[in-house]
C-alpha cells in the first residue's frame, strides 16, 4: 500500500505480533532473583515488595479513608452552616441549654487521649516493651470511655428535659423551631461522633491485644500507626463540634 500503513514498511522484519511480545519493554525482567531478597518479615503480605512499601500503602489508605470521613461529617457541618446562618439567634438560644463545662471537660479528656495515643504509637515505634505499649493504649481507651460516659450523662439530661427532637420535644423559650433543628443537628453530629468513638474503642481493643502479643516493634507498627490516625481524626471532629455546638450561646444571657 502506498500510504505506508502496512506494518512492513515501517517495521521491517517479522510482523508485529511476535515482535511486540518479544518487546523488551514488557517481557524484560530485571528484578533480583528471589534469593536476593532479605528474609521475609512474617507480616509482609505477598503482593508488597517490602515492609516500608506495605506501611506506606497502609498509611496512605488510612489517610484516604480519613478524607472520606471528612466529607461524611461534612454533610452534617453543611446543614449546620446553613441553619446557623438562617437562625443565628435561635441557635444561640438553643445552644444555651447545653452544659459548656461538660463539653469543655470532654474536650480535655479527648485531648489527653490523643496524647496517650501518640505516645502509644511512639512506644511501638521505639520497640518499647509490650507493657508500655499496652499501657498507653489502655489509657487511651479509658479516656475514650470516660468521654462516652460524659456523653451518656449529657444525653440523659437532654432526655429528661425533653430536648430530644420529635413528638416529645418541648421548648418553652423563644425560637422553638430553630431549637428543634439545632437539637436535631446536635444529636446527629454528636451521635455520629460517638459512634466513631465506639468503633475506635473496638479498634483499640484489637490493637491492645496485638501489642500484648508482642506483635509491634520498630520494624512493624503499621496497625498502631493507622489506628492512631483514626483516633486523632475523631478528636479533631470534636475540636470543631465543641465550639460550634456548646459555645455559640455562652455569652448569650
Amino acid at each position: 500500500m502506498a500510504n505506508g500503513r502496512s506494518g512492513g514498511e515501517h517495521y521491517p522484519g517479522p510482523m508485529h505480533i511476535p515482535s511486540l511480545h518479544g518487546d523488551p519493554g514488557f517481557a524484560g525482567h530485571s528484578g533480583e532473583p528471589p534469593g536476593m531478597y532479605p528474609p521475609h518479615h512474617p507480616k509482609l503480605q505477598h503482593h508488597f515488595d517490602d515492609m516500608a512499601d506495605q506501611a506506606e500503602a497502609s498509611t496512605l489508605g488510612m489517610w484516604v479513608f480519613l478524607v472520606t470521613e471528612i466529607m461524611f461529617f461534612g454533610g452534617l457541618f453543611m446543614a449546620y452552616l446553613v441553619y446557623r446562618s438562617a437562625y443565628p439567634t435561635g441557635f444561640q438560644e438553643a445552644s444555651n441549654h447545653l452544659n459548656v463545662y461538660w463539653g469543655a471537660a470532654n474536650t480535655v479528656v479527648l485531648i489527653c487521649s490523643s496524647l496517650t495515643m501518640a505516645l502509644g504509637v511512639r512506644a511501638a515505634q521505639t520497640s518499647a516493651p509490650p507493657r508500655t505499649q499496652v499501657g498507653w493504649i489502655v489509657a487511651t481507651m479509658v479516656l475514650g470511655a470516660a468521654f462516652l460516659g460524659v456523653k451518656v450523662i449529657e444525653y440523659a439530661d437532654k432526655f429528661t428535659h425533653h430536648l430530644v427532637p420529635g413528638p416529645y420535644f418541648q421548648w418553652t423559650g423563644k425560637y422553638p423551631d430553630a431549637a428543634e433543628i439545632f437539637y436535631s443537628l446536635y444529636f446527629c453530629m454528636t451521635g455520629l461522633h460517638a459512634v466513631h468513638m465506639i468503633i475506635g474503642l473496638g479498634i483499640m481493643t484489637v490493637i491492645a491485644v496485638m501489642a500484648w502479643k508482642r506483635q509491634f516493634d520498630a520494624s512493624y507498627y503499621t496497625p498502631v500507626e493507622v489506628s492512631g490516625l483514626y483516633w486523632h481524626f475523631v478528636d479533631i471532629v470534636w475540636i470543631f463540634l465543641f465550639p460550634l455546638l456548646y459555645l455559640i450561646g455562652f455569652h448569650y444571657h
Binding site: M71, F240, P243
Partner: protein
C-alpha cells in the same frame, strides 16, 4: 520501617498548646464580641486541628502525597460549603423574586 520518631517533649508541648487553646476558646466565648466570636472560635479550632494533624498525626514529617491527600479533604469540604452557601447568600438578590 522508617517512620519519624517524634521527641516526647514535642508531644507534651503540643498537648499543652491544645489545652491552652481549649481554655482560651471557652473564656473568649464568655464575652459578646459580635461576629468576632465566630472568627476567634473557629480560628482557635483550626489551629488546634492543625496541631493535631501536623504533630500527632505526623503529617509534618510525611510525604508530599500525604499533604495533598489531607489537604484535598478540606479543600473539597470548602467546595461543598462555598457553592452551597453561595446559593443561600445570593437568594433574594433579584427584586421581586422571593427567598
Amino acid at each position: 520501617m522508617s517512620g519519624h520518631i517524634t521527641p516526647k517533649n514535642l508531644y507534651y508541648f503540643v498537648f499543652l498548646a491544645l489545652l491552652v487553646g481549649t481554655g482560651l476558646t471557652v473564656v473568649v466565648a464568655k464575652f459578646d464580641l459580635g461576629p468576632l466570636n465566630n472568627v476567634v472560635m473557629l480560628s482557635i479550632a483550626c489551629a488546634k486541628a492543625l496541631l493535631v494533624i501536623l504533630f500527632f498525626m505526623h503529617v509534618r514529617w510525611s510525604s508530599r502525597l500525604t499533604w495533598v491527600v489531607a489537604g484535598s479533604g478540606f479543600f473539597w469540604l470548602l467546595i461543598l460549603f462555598g457553592l452551597t452557601m453561595g446559593d443561600y447568600m445570593s437568594r433574594g438578590w433579584i427584586a421581586g423574586s422571593l427567598r
